[in-house]
Structure formats: C-alpha cells, structure tokens
Symmetry: C3
Subunit: 278 residues, 3 copies
C-alpha cells in the first residue's frame, strides 16, 4: 500500500478513473471533502459503487474515511458499510483508546469485518497514540493527519522539522503495538519537491506509504515507498549471516558495517511481511 488515493464521495465521476489508476489503495472520503448537506447523497453514491462488480474485482485495497465519532454522521456512515467490500475503515479525530474500543464494538454489532486505520490529527490524539494503536486487534495502522494537527495548533505545515517530530511520534506509537504507520497527504499540488521530500522523510522513518490527494502524486509515492532494493539487501544479509553462523560468529561485517542478531531479525521480518519464506 505504497500509495492511497483520496476520492471524494461527492464526486462519483472520479471513481472509475481512480480505479483505473496506479494507486495501491483508494480512500473514499465521506468527511472533510463533503459538505454537511451532501453527506447522505455521497454515502449513497459510495455504497452503490462498493456493490458493483468493478469494486468486487479490484485488486486495490478499498478504504472508507467516515466522519468523526462525535459527528452527526458517524453512526449512519458505519451502518451503511455493512455487507459491503471494505478493507479498512479510516476514522478521523480519534483521541483515546476508549474511542477506538467503542468504534470496534459498533463495527462488531454492524457485522463489518474491516480493519481500522486510525488518524492521529489532534494534540490529544498524538499524546495517546501508543494507547490508541494498542487499543484493539482491529487497529491495523495509524495514519498521520498533519494538516489538521498543525492547523489546529498554529504550527507551520511547511517546516520539515515539525513534520519530523510529528511523524516520529506516530511511528514510535504504531511500533509499540506492532502496527504500521501511514503518511498523510501533502496539500500543495504544485510543489512536487515538497511532496517528494516529505515522502522520503516518512519512508526513512519506516512508514509504509503516503496518502495522495491527486493522481499526479501517486507515481511519486509508488516510487519512494517501493521496497525492492531493501528486500534484495535483506536477502544478501541473510546469506552473509548464514556464512558467519557456520563459522561460529553471531556478529559479522556486512557491506562495511557490523551486523548481528537485530539486523538478522529485521531482514527476516521484512521478507516475511512480503510473503517470502525467510
């Protein structure tokens, strides 16, 4: 899920094009891009499409961003997803582990088997991010919501130092609970350098992919979050570890640096996540 393309549910004319595009996942939005008076109609367009053969046949991951738990639309959004193909429900403005457990209970009742992708996008949510990630087995990942987080606090979204601090906290919180961390959207469509820099930063922090708000951003995300080279390196490291082990050494020199048990464990984990026996 290197890239995840944002699709406003109020714009059903974009659905087919998004499906035909290069994004690994589609994130259908019922929240901020849809004005209050258009929520019901947007929800209708979405559920109609999710019932289609095109949706059933898609190899992409299908994600729905519903409205926040304390909004008027939350209950209807969730109920509407029952019985449909949805891989992940993306929930905005979550601020506590209790909120996560309440959402998961609601999904249980409604018979929705999807995982949860939780947005961290308020100061309180960030402070509780570790507990939020660990709150329920349904939580598969945390997603950075820097636009909301920074706007609410008056923090400059363009300053990479601030972005780093927020992403670091989110990555560590997800890591505590062995969940993945997912990067949010870069808001400036014309500034591809900014997008690239932010994606590279997230990648170097171990995030798995980046949200895109326009198809033009997808290719950049796909390239930056590609793991092909890392996997080749992991295979070389395991081969070197096997040789060193045969000579009775737990630590060994690998491509210029010392490597030992944690490096071996990390290489194995990466290949295993990608479905390779290791």
């Amino acid at each position: 899920m290197r890239s995840k393309l944002f699709v406003p549910c109020s714009r059903p004319e974009f659905f087919a094009k998004a499906l035909a595009g290069a994004a690994d996942a589609l994130s259908f939005d019922l929240e901020d891009s849809v004005p209050a008076e258009a929520k019901a109609a947007a929800r209708e367009r979405l559920t109609e499409w999710l019932r289609s053969d095109a949706a059933a046949a898609s190899a992409k991951r299908l994600i729905v961003r519903i409205n926040a738990p304390d909004s008027l639309f939350f209950a209807d959004d969730l109920t509407a997803l029952a019985g449909l193909r949805v891989d992940l429900v993306n929930v905005p403005k979550v601020e506590s582990a209790d909120a996560v457990r309440a959402i998961a209970a609601r999904m249980e009742e409604a018979g929705i088997p999807a995982g949860l992708l939780i947005n961290i996008e308020t100061a309180s949510g960030l402070a509780q991010a570790g507990a939020i990630a660990a709150a329920h087995p349904r939580v598969t990942g945390l997603q950075a919501g820097l636009n909301d987080l920074f706007a609410s606090l008056g923090i400059d979204r363009r300053d990479a130092r601030h972005v780093h601090a927020a992403l670091w906290s989110i990555r560590l919180a997800a890591g505590e609970a062995a969940r993945f961390a997912y990067d949010g959207a870069w808001p400036d469509l014309e500034d591809t350098e900014g997008l690239r820099a932010e994606a590279a930063l997230a990648r170097s922090l171990g995030f798995v992919g980046k949200s895109c708000i326009h198809p033009s951003q997808v290719e950049i995300a796909n390239r930056l979050f590609d793991r092909g080279e890392d996997m080749a390196r992991a295979r070389r490291l395991l081969a070197a570890a096997a040789e060193a082990g045969a000579r009775g050494h737990g630590a060994f020199l690998f491509e210029g640096a010392m490597a030992d048990a944690p490096a071996i464990a990390a290489a194995r984990a990466m290949l295993r996540r990608a479905g390779e026996a290791a």
Copy 2:
C-alpha cells in the same frame, strides 16, 4: 502578548522605564534574579508599585514570577499579591498536576483571581506537561524554561535541534489542554541573530510570544510574533471557503494548496481569538 519583559524586583529603578517601553507584558521577577537575602525587600518594592496609579492605568499585562512551590519564599510571595492588580502569576519549577492544583487552591484561599502561567523547566515537568496544562482552569499557558531545563541536564542551549525538541513537546502539551504556549528567554544579549532564530522557531510552532530579558530584545519579539499577515490570510481563506461552499464543495484550492474543513476551522479560531466575528 507578543513580548514579555523581565523586570528584576530587586531593581525598582527599572520599573518606570519598563512600563514606558514597547513590551506587551511585564514580568516582575522575585525568583532567580533576586538573592535570598534580598527577597523580602524586593517583594516590598513590587507590591508598592503594583498599588500605584501607574500600574492600575497600564494597558500592559502584568505578570509576577514568584519563587518555586518548594522554596522558603513561595507562601509569602503569594500572600503578598492578594488585592493587587496581577494578571498572571508565573510559577517556576512545576513538576506535576498535583502541584498546580495545590497552587490554585492557595490562590483561591488568598483571594487572588489571576491566571497561572506555568514554567516547564525540568525533565519531570516536561514529562508531565500535558497533565500540568490540563490540571486546573486557572492555567492559561505553559512557558518554556530552556535555560534551567538544559543546564540541569547538561544539554547544549545553543543547539537549535535541542531547542526544537523541547519547544515541540511544550507546544503539544499546551495544545492538548487548549492552553497557549509561551517562549522563554534567549540568554545572550549580544547575539540578536540567535534571538531572532529562536523566536522564529517558536512562532512557527504556534507559540504566542517570547520572554525578553532586556528592552533591546522587545522589538524583535514584537515583530516576529505579529499576527497581522496571518489574519489577513485567514480572512481571504474564509471568503474562498464561502465561494466553494456555494458551489457545493467542502474542499477547494486556496493560494496553491488544497484547503478544507480543518483549515476553515483554524482560520475562524484565529480571528475569534483576536476578537473578530468569523
């Protein structure tokens, strides 16, 4: 409160000049700048001045930094402020929410209606900053005390990376409880570039202003923490949001970047804080 000028209470000859200066607030110090044997006399000079017509008439915010809760001087400092014009009591070395509640209870007893500005200036205080900010409705803000924090830990005060990490934590902690964050003092009077850089960093993190230890620092703080341009931008964004809303869109392109509900909420909040209907 873009700037807040430090005034040692042991130097009453500075009071009139400070009052006539450009600082938005004056912070009368009873703590570190006053040696133990001079505390009583300094407190006397301060209370005398706070009873003056000049103090009553001043448009500046008047702040008093008292001695730490666990010091010999705390109780007398607080009692002395009863019945006087003090807008904020600034408390150093606070390390827990319990300490805040104890201070607030003391102020209640003494009949002091001022708000609390809490210094975060120890490792324990920083770890508890979120709980400290939320501990009591009297707390109006957190103030960074980097000189104390860094000196106690042997951390280099000149390294902007360290300053960033501390300010980030303090801003987020204040934000959790919807309190403001205020920047501490830059200690090197000759290094105006250092002052400017630190103020710009704090500003970009959403701090509202900076402590100054000399009148020469005030103008720099006033300029860097001025919000005029931001407010003009907020007004333009709300106009664009109204237009987009009329066309049925919740998200819209604004000055080159996508804007949606959180950006609108932030713009409204900024104007509201400044007293504009929005």
Copy 3:
C-alpha cells in the same frame, strides 16, 4: 566512562588487549555477538577471566551485557556473576519498570551488588524509559540501543534527525530520574566522520560517553566526551557568581550571556560529580 569497549565473550583472545587499551570501561558481551550454541562456553570464559588478578587490579569499569530477561540464557547469565567483580550489569530489551524490578530482585537473591545499565532499544522500551529509569535504585543509567530500535521499526539508522529524536527521549527519561544517559555503538567502522558526528550529538545532549565496538573508536569517544573544558568554565562561572553575589545580584553577565541560579546550580553539580568541592 567516556568510552566503553565492546568485548565478545566468545573471543577470549581479545580480553587482554581490551584491558590494555584506552577505554574507560569494558563491556563483555554474552548477548548478540554470541550464537546460542556458544553461550555456555562464552559465559565460562568470562567468569574465569573475571576471577583473574588482571580483572581485580583493573582501574576500568567492568560491565557485562547479559541476555534479555525473556531469553533462555538470562537466569544462567545472572547466576554466573555472583561473587565476581562486575561494576554494572547491562540488560538488553527491557520494556517496563516491572521488568527492572524483577531483575533487581533476582540480583538481590543471587547476591550481586552491581548497578544496572538498562538498554532502551525497542519502541515500548522508549515509551516507558522514564518509568524504567525510576524503577529501582540499582538503575544507574539508560543506554541507547539505536541499532535494534531502528532495525525493528524500519527506521534509517544513518539519518541524524532520527538519531536526535531517539537520543533526546532517552536523555530526558534518564534526567527525570537523575540517572545518566549513555550512547550506544556506531556500527560502521570505516565511517569515522559518522562516529564523530553521532558522538558530538550525544555529548551536546548531555550523554556521558559512547559505546565502542572496535578499539579504533575509543580515542574518538575519549576526546569527544572529555569534560576538562566544561569544568574549567564551571570554575570561572562560580567565581563570577561569587563576585556578583557580593554586589547583591543573583543574575549576572558571564562571558557574553546572562547567568543566574540555574547556571550556578549546574556548574556546582558538574564539579561535584567529578569529586571537586564546589
């Protein structure tokens, strides 16, 4: 303890050379550098050497890194150290205050008087680092384990921003409990610039020294963590403070910057730690 040299217990031929070298401390490793099938023999080599006259006579601090509490080797590692000269037991993969208390209780039973140096090298350990440092009086310090931490999370070990964020958290956590913070190893033997930069960063964050995985790294660590100049500056500051105090001032200008009570306290603390009356 500016430098601490890593010595694999599976390589007893290195012991004498390490003892004769310039490192302030030796850290005998029973963990990652020793394969499972060689653990018992390595433990034997270590205890034999710790009983030697050379060990008894050494002015270096002697540290043993044992296997993690949840490993098969932990109990035997600890029992083997009873009655031997060991200054610090270094424990990897600690993730909670409870784990620290369990280890300390085990050492009590086994009659091992050594202090504990706790590795912070998982996301959970980092989140709990403050509680871990404060968990028991035996804990003398926290040590950064960035290789494990970053490998487990897919974080790029070469990016100084990430290193900064991790070291900052560990330094602050140690500081909450008034413990020292110790820097981990730089894995790339050929990249002395990288080593130097990381050591300088740790030093500027108040870490006391750096782990070395090869004798060639020791001299760099010894130079970068030397405190001679700082101590001379502390003596000058205390002299200036005495003069200012005699003139009735608690705050004073010192070498271009304002200094007051916290700076004086920090200077005194530094000299006291080094055994000077101050």
